[in-house]
Amino acid sequence: MFLRRLHLRQFRNYTDQKVQFEAQKTILVGNNAQGKSNLLEAVELLATLNSHRTSRDRDLVQNEQTTGQITATVERKHSTIELGILLRKQGRRTLKLNTETLRRQMEFLGQVNAVQFSGLDLDLVRGGPEIRRNWLDALVIQLEPVYAYILQQYNQVLRQRNALLRRLKQEEMRSLSEGEKMQLALWDSQLAANGSRVTRRRARVLGRLVPIAQEWHRLISGAKEQLEIHYTPNVPWTQDNPEQVQQAFLSKIEQRRTAEKYQGRTVVGTHRDEIELVINNTPARAYGSQGQQRTLVLALKLAELKLIEEVIGEPPLLLLDDVLAELDPNRQNQLLEAIQGRFQTLITATHINAFDAQWLNASQIFSVAAGEVSNF
């Protein structure tokens, strides 16, 4: 797929900016805080409807304005589509596909696919499990848009179940009435039903991603390091069938019944899953230098790129936010080789001289200053 045109109106620090993309690689050069990452963020929103920088739409709308807009023309293998996101400082978004307003976000997801790689991604290795869960969930949504709905349902069940547990906790430590037990049992089975959908899809996608990531990691590290990725769900299961997985949930809930009653919240479920990254039998967090951690993240990102291409049948966009300059020439070339001419790539950097001559020759270069994009 190819992002041909991007039009940002009252989005972050852009008042009214059109960008026309002509080459497979686009380099955006500019000082910090000029709007380079904002442009990539707009593309990320088109692909996932999420920004890794904020969860509030009012941060996305330009100061003093009430609405902001992102529109884009995307050339896909068999068709050209127009996408639009209308963001409001207050209230819901309006999503458009070819001028038609969509009722569900699921219909919008999957129209553009993108893999984002920014300096923040080192948190995948260093940060807590939530960061890795969010990363995996975002990938699953790109591959199977229905997962966005499944996740939403799971979170709703979680909120309701927590509300019930909180209320029961306030009833002090008396034993529960039959009616209360029955109510709790309802939410137990809802948690099991929805949690089983979440965990099975996570496992399935990770199962496909891991071999590709391992292969890339072997290549980039010169076969010196062995990467392993383990999915450790909060509720372990072995047989991939809905009844068995649900049964595993229910048993674990029974085991942790007292803990949940005491804490007044749900301690069993996929919101506590972990994805362990291990290099040479050592947790990646504790292992090695920043460079080695960067190698790991690069391998994960390249694997995402490959997997999305495999599943969707079209190469996704690659967004490199301020990371290229941090890679040494060897890793830069690895990346270049992996991308070849297949993936449209948007790159931000503060200096043009950080790039290899090979990169510069094949790229369209823009400079970004104070919310304006112009030819370099």
């Binding site: 229905v146 349902q153 909120r159 309701q160 509300a163 209320r167 009616g179 109510q183 309802l186 809802q190």
Partner: protein
């Protein structure tokens, strides 16, 4: 608000509390009311007050009704072997418009939602259990929206009623006249889940 004289401001403020009415609509309605004859306005005010004072709930099915028992429950022509359970009176009205259902109804008055402090005790569940246990009742149809809360309520009622009566759930799937290719994945998945044997009819 200085543009409005106080009585007009008060009217607009009241109208704006209604669902789906924003400041502009409220202003339009208020100005329209002022243009009407005093008789018309009196009739409107009386109708609002009378409806509020007279309409309560049917003591059998909890549908909105001015009488103790609603016309649907009183209707001898209707089949009293089937009870269709819905969330609120709006659903009764929607189902009645189809003219395809000839049984009785039962309005729950909401769905189970711990976040809003609504458990089975806040809903008209006990009266339903009593009705469903009458010997003439053969089937209870659960027609509750498939949200997380709606499904939980369906699950609950199923467990409660199944021991002594046949319990069914309405099918969820494709809208009539809708093309398969335009249906979203969730609807399609549900429609597949609820598939059934093709029978000669």
């Amino acid at each position: 608000m200085t543009a409005y004289t106080p009585p007009l401001a008060r009217l607009i403020e009241q109208l704006q509390k209604l669902p789906g009415v924003g400041p502009k609509t409220a202003q339009r309605l208020a100005l329209h009311i002022l243009k009407q004859s005093e008789d018309d306005v009196e009739a409107l005010a009386q109708a609002i007050l009378a409806a509020k004072k007279q309409v309560g709930f049917c003591q059998t099915c909890f549908h909105l009704s001015a009488d103790k028992t609603c016309p649907i429950c009183r209707d001898q022509q209707r089949d009293n072997k089937t009870i269709c359970v819905v969330t609120d009176s709006r659903d009764v009205i929607a189902l009645e418009k189809t003219r395809e259902y000839h049984g009785k109804y039962h309005v729950l008055g909401g769905v189970i939602s711990p976040m809003d402090g609504i458990g089975p005790d806040q809903l008209n569940v006990q009266p339903l259990v009593r009705r469903a246990s009458f010997p003439e009742v053969e089937e209870v149809i659960l027609a509750i929206s498939p949200s997380v809360e709606g499904e939980t309520t369906t699950l609950y009622l199923g467990q409660l009623l199944r021991p002594f009566v046949r319990v069914t759930q309405i099918a969820f799937g494709l809208p009539m006249g809708g093309d398969l290719e335009y249906a979203d994945e969730v609807t399609l998945a549900r429609a597949l889940e609820g598939r059934r044997e093709l029978v000669n009819s």
